[in-house]
Amino acid sequence: MADLLTPQLNAETPAPDWLQARRLAGRAAWESSELPTRKTEAWKYTSLFALQQPFMAARESAESAEELGLELPQLAGSRLVFVNGFWREDLSEIEPDAAIELVRFSEADQSQAALIAQHLGSVVPGNKHPFSALNDAVLADGVFLRILKGSKAARPVQLVWHNSPQVDAAINSQRLLVLAEQHSEATVVEHFSGQGHSFTNGLTELILAAGATLSHSRLHLESAEALHVGGLHAALERDATLNSFHVAFGGKLKRIDIVINHLGQGAHCQLDGMYLLRGQEHVDYHTCIEHAVPHCTTDETFRGIVGDKASAVFNGRIHIHPDAQKTRAELSNKNLLTSATAEVNTKPELEIYADDVQCAHGATVAQLDESMLHYLRTRGIPADEALVLLSYGFINALVEKQRLESLRDYLKPRLADYFGAALAVDSDDAGG
């Protein structure tokens, strides 16, 4: 597995000194770390066997958006598009916004480079997680988004990492650093898509200073052959609010670690996620919320639908430290199995070391609700169609919670498509 590094090292692009130092440290950490096996508790249900194949360094592509099959939500804000890990100026758009600075690491000016160097890896130490070390080792063109103190970004910022089909399975690395300064506000959408075989090692760090509000979505819409091992790591200072929304359509292997650190009192996190798997796909979400200080709240909801021979893993850890009195944390994970051979391993893990806290958790693997099914059938909707509609509704209920209308408009028809639901009417047009 140490070979994973080789193709990327060979393709290494020149880097400024501060970046080069980071790479070397990452490389050292990667080379000295053991890759997790299924004997490791956190990897019990997810095998990395699929990574044991020769990967090539990703190649630059010049295909048009159409040729790439690139379909993006119309968010109307700035958009940076990377194809096979390479920035594509022609597909990107920069909308001037005085509230933000949005740069690639390679073009960061001196003060931006200083900020990146200061914050990158501060939430996720490269030596803690082998795949973070791998990400550090091959760091090339990451993205830095800074939302300036007291400012509100006018429009959502969209970051797209797309893979084009290549002859050999290609390896990619993605890195995003968001620094939301005090009392700033912004919306960020991360978008992973593409076709064919690829392995992406994606890593995102969100830093929310006191009073900052960040709406964040991470969409994993890659092809069924895609491999992705990635993470989202966030730090919330006093009274910061993070809304983070995760979508994963299946892939051969997707493992996403989400770690949210409540570091300042009054911080709030709403974490929603959904995964849809079929065939022999495998998705593994490991979430961990660290409540280190008092008076923070977490509201976490994940839902999944797993069919055929697919398997899903959800591990939701909430860790309430001894000082974290008056914590309010809720975690719910509901799964629907649509075939007898599908599998879900779900485990809420509450570790509570403070006594004055309100915690609720629930994890279920269930069938669709009988009384809902009957209700639809009394209205003439045939049973198979009713099941489709209910599956769609089960997932769409989470989409409806999201505030960004353009994102809902993008996801709903894709969901309907996925389930094969004949939803001729888009409800958002209904009121007109």
Binding site: H374, Y375, R379, G380, L389, L390, Y392, V425
Partner: protein
């Protein structure tokens, strides 16, 4: 149109309907009254084909077909409609999506062409207005977070769009304010026709002031123990159900 003969049904091993007979002809409006727990909703559930309700004896014929042999959706296709006493909430599926799926399915089964989207949306909005619900309810999840009265109006809206042959309204008047009661009554009255029949389950004589029934039945302990015209409802209102118990014993 509907002919129920000696119907016995049980839920979870418990006998609820114990030899029920009822005959509804085209264009008639029947009202069923009866004490709590007597089996009124059970009758609706059984007619709709709800899982968990076992028919142990008897027969039901609807428009010349053996109703009990049909799947729930086939009953709807044939023109049976049940307005639920407690409509189910379905978050994530918008009312509009649901209504379109429902009307499309019923029309398709009847060999009628589907409405185009624009045409359907216009109809849905009209139905919404007719039951005095804000258009915003079309966008919301089916019954999701609706108040009791709003759910009942939503049932009525579905009935209007589906244009069924037999409408069973299970306490559609319960929990309604006076204005809503008028809405329900005028909705039903507007739909009355020579070929459409109604079965109204209600606890209140008041509804029958607005929707004049051809027959009133009293259901007690799983059987119809008294039938009459609308004056029976007035008599019940004045004397209560115990009056009938005595009558039976005597």
């Amino acid at each position: 149109m509907l002919s129920i003969k000696d119907l016995h049904a049980e839920v979870e091993g418990k006998n609820i309907l114990k030899g029920l007979n009822l005959e509804i002809r085209e264009g008639e409006v029947h009202a069923i009254m009866g004490p709590n727990g007597s089996g009124k909703s059970t009758l609706g559930h059984v007619l709709s084909g709800r899982p968990g309700y076992e028919i142990t004896q008897g027969s039901v014929e609807f428009l010349g077909k053996d109703l009990l042999e049909l799947d729930t959706e086939e009953r709807a296709h044939l023109g049976l409609f049940l307005a639920f006493q407690y409509p189910v909430e379905i978050p994530g599926v918008s009312n509009m999506e649901f209504l379109k799926a429902s009307v499309d399915a019923v029309r398709e089964s009847q060999g009628a062409s589907a409405y185009d989207t624009v045409g359907f949306m216009r109809r849905a909005r009209e139905a919404c207005t007719a039951v005095d619900l804000d258009q915003a309810f079309l966008k919301r999840g089916v019954n999701e977070g609706f108040s009791g009265g709003e759910k009942k109006r939503n049932e009525l809206m579905q009935m209007m769009l589906l244009e069924p042959r037999l409408c069973i309204l299970d306490e559609t008047d319960s929990g309604l304010d006076i204005d809503a009661l008028q809405v329900v009554a005028s909705g039903v009255n507007a739909m009355r026709s020579e070929s459409r029949s109604f079965l109204l389950v209600t606890h209140y004589q008041r509804l029958l002031d607005y929707i004049e029934p051809d027959f009133v039945h009293v259901l007690a302990d799983g059987r119809i123990i008294r039938s009459g015209d609308k004056s029976l409802a007035l008599e019940l209102e004045a004397k209560g159900y115990s009056w009938l118990d005595d009558g039976e014993v005597a």
